[in-house]
């Protein structure tokens, strides 16, 4: 293991800092929701729990916040064991999916609530409220009521309210999911900036892989109460540990194939077609150490497609048939069929639109530029 969080050579202070979740189990009735979660979020880091609904990610967040007790396991924060501590004593800021702003209090009163609970004097409270409103760029809104704010503004206030208490840990529960797409991108960038400025240790829960890849230092993929993989966003996107992680982080084409070793190197057979692998794919085959029936997995941007010409099929391309094109602005998704398998291929719009008659039924050549080799199932 070479991941920094796993190194035991660090000092005790480093070991204790940040958030530790140690072998946490949680079930409701007969249903096990969390099956032994262990993770460490170092001081100042921004980690993201990514998983489909029902994966247990929100339950885990609620256990960390202290709203739900764990059945077993421990949670420590900055060296303190907080497993059995009441939520009001944990010093954890929480931002909720539906903002949870107190509707009967103004923006300033909402933000000042945590400071009031800490017995802070009025003058200092007001100064802190001004500062944090400036941080989230909501300067002129102190006297507004939450109902008079847009969703994006409410979310900024909720963030300010959680940050102003200078929490040891910031928890964000799907903070962007209730926002419109355009506002979501704006708030997402704000979130990244604010976390970078405040350097507050942050754990965010989301089911949106785009948010996860954009925001986090490190992504933990949760499924059915188990952490399936954790790593830097690019790492888990490009080298997913298994098909679930790969499929959850983005679209994935999977094609059954066979590896055939020949005198002049490795060949792939897909259905009735032989394919000379690209060098990247050859490396992937070597790394997988497999032979015989396998499955080739490639993301849409790892494939390339050209219109077939009168010439013979190149050895590094598979012959296929164009099914249709989905136009998505800057890019297009090209659907093709190769040996009865449907593939989705990403291309830049100008390359396709100006590039000849891309009509359904046309013969095309598909190249697998990169990809991964997974153990084959029953297919050959």
């Amino acid at each position: 293991m070479n991941a920094p969080w796993a190194q035991s050579s660090l000092g005790a202070a480093e070991e204790n800092s940040g958030l530790h979740v140690i072998d946490v189990h949680k079930g409701y009735g007969q249903t096990a929701v969390l099956k032994g979660i262990t993770l460490h979020v170092p001081h100042n880091a921004f980690h993201l729990l990514l998983g489909p609904s029902g994966s247990g990610k929100t339950t885990l967040l609620r256990i960390i916040a202290g709203f739900t007790p764990a059945d077993s396991g421990r949670v420590t924060l900055a060296g303190r064991d907080i497993t059995a501590m009441l939520p009001e004593r944990r010093n954890i800021g929480v931002v909720f999916q539906n903002y949870a702003l107190f509707p009967h209090m103004s923006v300033a009163q909402n933000i000042g609530f945590g400071l009031r609970m800490r017995g802070m004097a009025r003058a200092e409270r007001e100064q802190r409220i001004r500062d944090v409103l400036a941080l989230v760029r909501m300067g002129g809104f102190a006297q507004r009521m939450p109902a008079a704010l847009s969703g994006g503004q409410q979310q900024r206030v909720a963030l300010a309210r959680a940050l102003v208490i200078e929490p040891e840990l910031l928890l964000l529960d799907e903070p962007l999911s209730a926002l419109d797409r355009k506002i979501r991108q704006e708030v997402r960038e704000e979130l990244k900036r604010i976390q970078a400025e405040t350097r507050v240790t942050t754990v965010m829960v989301t089911h949106d892989q785009e948010e996860a890849l954009f925001l986090a230092d490190r992504v933990l993929v949760l499924e059915a109460g188990v952490i399936r993989q954790q790593g830097a966003p690019a790492e888990i996107y490009q080298q997913p540990a298994d098909e679930f992680v790969a499929g959850f982080l983005g679209p994935l084409n999977v094609v059954p194939a066979a590896i055939e070793r020949q005198a002049d190197g490795v060949m792939l057979r897909v259905g009735g077609q032989h394919l000379a692998p690209t060098s990247a794919l050859r490396d992937a085959i070597a790394a997988a150490g497999l032979s015989g029936p396998v499955r080739l997995a490639a993301r849409p941007e790892q494939l390339a497609v050209t219109l077939a010409t009168a010439a013979a099929r190149p050895p590094d391309a598979l012959a296929g048939r164009l099914l249709g094109i989905d136009f998505a602005g800057a890019v297009v998704i090209i659907h093709v069929e190769v040996e009865a398998h449907r593939l989705a291929i990403l291309a830049l719009s100008p390359d396709v639109i100006a590039g000849g008659p891309w009509e359904p039924g046309r013969a095309v050549w598909v190249r697998i530029r990169q990809g991964r080799v997974l153990p084959g199932g029953s297919a050959g």
Binding site: E88, N91, I92, V94, N98, H104, F113, M117, R118, R161
Partner: protein, 271 residues
């Protein structure tokens, strides 16, 4: 002309039915109010305006004592129902398990649906058995039992509409359970608590049967007094009292609206 009408439009038939319904409700009230200002003690015409019966009411009638007793008793019942009912609602919505919630709701529903005649009789038996017998304390407990469910249901309905994450947010910001209730939950459910209290007050004030079964001999609440008077024939000072009660009720509801409690679920308010 097209036979198609705006499906949201109010038809003349609907207006007529509404008018009839309102007339049925309010005409008797208007008659009583009119008679309270009429000089004839037998409700006969011609109408001669007088305030004589109001004078009688305050000077010589025996109505003020029972009225005062009923007001005090109902206020005490309403205040107790508000406190216990709110606690019950919080437990029901936020804490109760599935079985506990079903049992609690069932019990409260029974208190509403079992006829008061049966309930009153059963209460008398129980009060006798536990040694309270017919007493003011018995009336208080009986009226509390029949008005408590209204507070619980009204407050619980409001509480269910409040995002539990508001309470979680308060807790995470450093407020303990009590401070969270006082500063976040209570202000948000206050309209429901007030309208529940008002209904509990009216239920307690009105309920003849429970009071009839449980009142000690010689003690007369207003409903019991009126019942006695009606059997022997009464003077229009009773009409004057009724007019004052209607006027007070109207003022009370007006006041609650002015206090910004338009969303309290009161009659005439928009939810």
């Amino acid at each position: 002309m097209s036979r198609l009408r705006d499906i949201d439009a109010v038809s003349p038939g609907m207006v007529t039915v509404l008018g009839l319904g309102l007339a049925l409700l309010f005409l008797p009230l208007l008659v009583i109010i009119a008679l309270s200002f009429n000089a004839s003690p037998y409700g006969t015409l011609p109408f001669q305006a007088t305030l004589h019966w109001y004078g009688t009411l305050f000077a010589r009638s025996g109505l003020l004592g029972p009225t005062w007793l009923s007001l005090k008793l109902s206020a005490l019942v309403a205040a107790s129902a508000a406190l216990l009912g709110t606690m019950g609602a919080v437990w029901l919505v936020r804490r109760a398990g599935r079985l506990g919630a079903v049992l609690f709701r069932g019990t409260l529903l029974a208190a509403i649906t079992v006829p008061w005649l049966i309930l009153g009789l059963a209460m008398l038996l129980v009060m006798n058995a536990i040694g309270l017998g017919r007493s003011l304390l018995s009336i208080y407990l009986g009226l509390l039992a029949i008005s408590l469910p209204y507070v619980v249901f009204i407050v619980a309905t409001r509480l269910q509409a409040i995002d539990p994450d508001l309470e979680h947010a308060a807790r995470s910001l450093g407020a303990g359970a009590l401070a969270t209730f006082a500063l976040v939950t209570a202000p948000l459910i206050l309209p429901a608590i007030l309208s529940g209290t008002l209904i509990a007050f009216v239920m307690a004030f009105n309920n003849f049967l429970i009071q009839y079964f449980l009142a000690p001999f010689g003690t007369q609440t207003l409903p019991l007094k009126i019942y006695t008077l009606i059997r022997v024939g009464y003077l229009p000072d009773l009409n004057a009292l009724a007019t004052l009660i209607v006027a007070t009720t109207c003022l009370l509801i007006l006041l609650l609206h002015r206090l910004g409690l338009r969303n309290a679920g009161l009659p005439g308010s928009t939810p």
